[in-house]
Amino acid sequence: MAKENTQNLIETSDYIGHHLVNLTFGWCEKTSSWGFANHQQELFKGLDSACKVSEMGFWSFHLDTIFMSILLGAVVFGFFGLVNRAAKKGVPGKLQNFAEFVHEFIASAVNSGYHGTSKIVGPLAFASCLWIISWNLMDLLPVEMASFFGHFGGGFNYFKILPTADLNAPLALAIVVMILVTYYSVKTHGAGGFLKELFIVPLGPLEFISYVSKHVALALRLYGNLFAGEMIFILIAIMFGQFAMSFSQTLWFLPGLILNLSWALFHILIVALQAYIFMMLTIAYLNLASTKH
């Protein structure tokens, strides 16, 4: 009995680990070559000698994150690009109506929150909001789906379809925002004024700490919310998946389904809300940076 429990625990942690590891391609110190991490690609057997994901250094790429984010971006921005290209001034069609609705929603947020003159804020808010929403929506797909298709379809044992749950992606967005905030701060207050504000007036270097942390928090807030949501989906899957292992208890499938569905419905809120929060904070930070105070 005790042994069985240990076995279960190992399986559980394996399962969670499986769902939290990205498909990684990078530089392996041990073999001095570029390649997939250990056990990640069944198509290339004999990679036991390859590095584990944790052994790879900074120069590795999460191919799943990159692929999914660019694919989603291409779909979303391709859609808006095509609709805008075909848009006409007269009575709009349904797709155009949708595109106009989204545009006006974001434009009104920008107009009410940003009082500077920069032309980049609107597009930045638009791009970040829609890209993040498209990422977050991937969280609503069943947790097993990507692994299932990856494993049996392409031989990829590890494939995470949710780019937001990989800190690299939200952090990249936040850093772009930080660079723009710094640029407009320097432009508005001058380099000296900006540095003075950061380190001297009024509370010494505290302002600098807040400056860095608010941008890191911008990334971590988004990452944390979506990562936690994904985690709960995984836990629900484990809880009822394990019970259902024994055939006589297949009925556990049903409460699992209900719980999964209710969490997914609740999660829709988080999906949109986090994207909205990211956009509004971006606008607010840029507004602070480009107005004198």
């Binding site: 990205n22 990078g26 994901v53 944790s54 790879m56 250094g57 900074f58 120069w59 590795s60 790429f61 999460h62 994150t65 990159i66 984010s69 660019i70 971006g73 921005f77 808006f80 690009g81 805008n84 290209r85 848009a87 001034k89 595109a99 106009e100 545009h103 006006e104 434009a107 032309k119 980049i120 609107g122 597009p123 930045l124 638009f126 791009a127 970040s128 890209w131 780019p163 990989d166 800190l167 690299n168 992606a169 952090l171 990249a172 967005l173 850093i175 772009v176």
Partner: protein
């Protein structure tokens, strides 16, 4: 939670998508919406203008109608008075004509009466002469008595 080179890939991708939005998506939609806003406000302006024009035209047509009505009624009045005048004139003319006819009829009557008197006088004279001739056939000279007879005739 491991930060690695994926970060740079995402950074680059984000910059590219922001640029695409900045270049192709955002301004075209802004222009479109601005154009539509302008078109709608133009349309509303045109509508109110034409409303004004319509009111003006209504007013103008009402005045024209009033003028026409006034003109028509004055024409009718004129026609009525003219007709009265014509009737009066005709009456006068008829009366005059009737007088004239009466006068000429009277003259005719007098003339024919005179004629008839003359005829009768001649006939009576002839009869008198014939009777007197018959009476005085033997002794009275027709020529000697002619003066007497003529003066008789004249007296009749």
């Amino acid at each position: 939670m491991n930060i690695n080179a994926t970060f740079f890939a995402e950074l680059l991708a984000f910059c590219i998508f922001v640029f695409i939005t900045y270049r192709y998506i955002w301004p075209s939609m802004e222009n479109l919406l601005e154009d539509r806003r302008k078109e709608i406000s133009d349309g509303l302006e045109a509508a109110s203008q034409s409303q004004r024009k319509l009111e003006e035209a209504n007013k103008e047509s009402a005045t024209i109608l009033d003028g026409a009505k006034a003109e028509a009624s004055s024409l009718i009045n004129q026609a009525n008075s003219r007709a009265d005048q014509i009737v009066d004139e005709a009456k006068e003319q008829a009366v005059e004509e009737a007088k004239k006819i009466k006068l000429s009829a009277e003259a005719d009557i007098e003339q024919s009466a005179n004629k008839a008197k003359d005829g009768l006088r001649d006939e009576v004279a002839a009869l008198v002469i014939a009777g007197a001739q018959k009476i005085l056939d033997k002794e009275i000279n027709a020529k000697a008595n002619k003066d007497i007879i003529d003066s008789l005739i004249k007296k009749i």
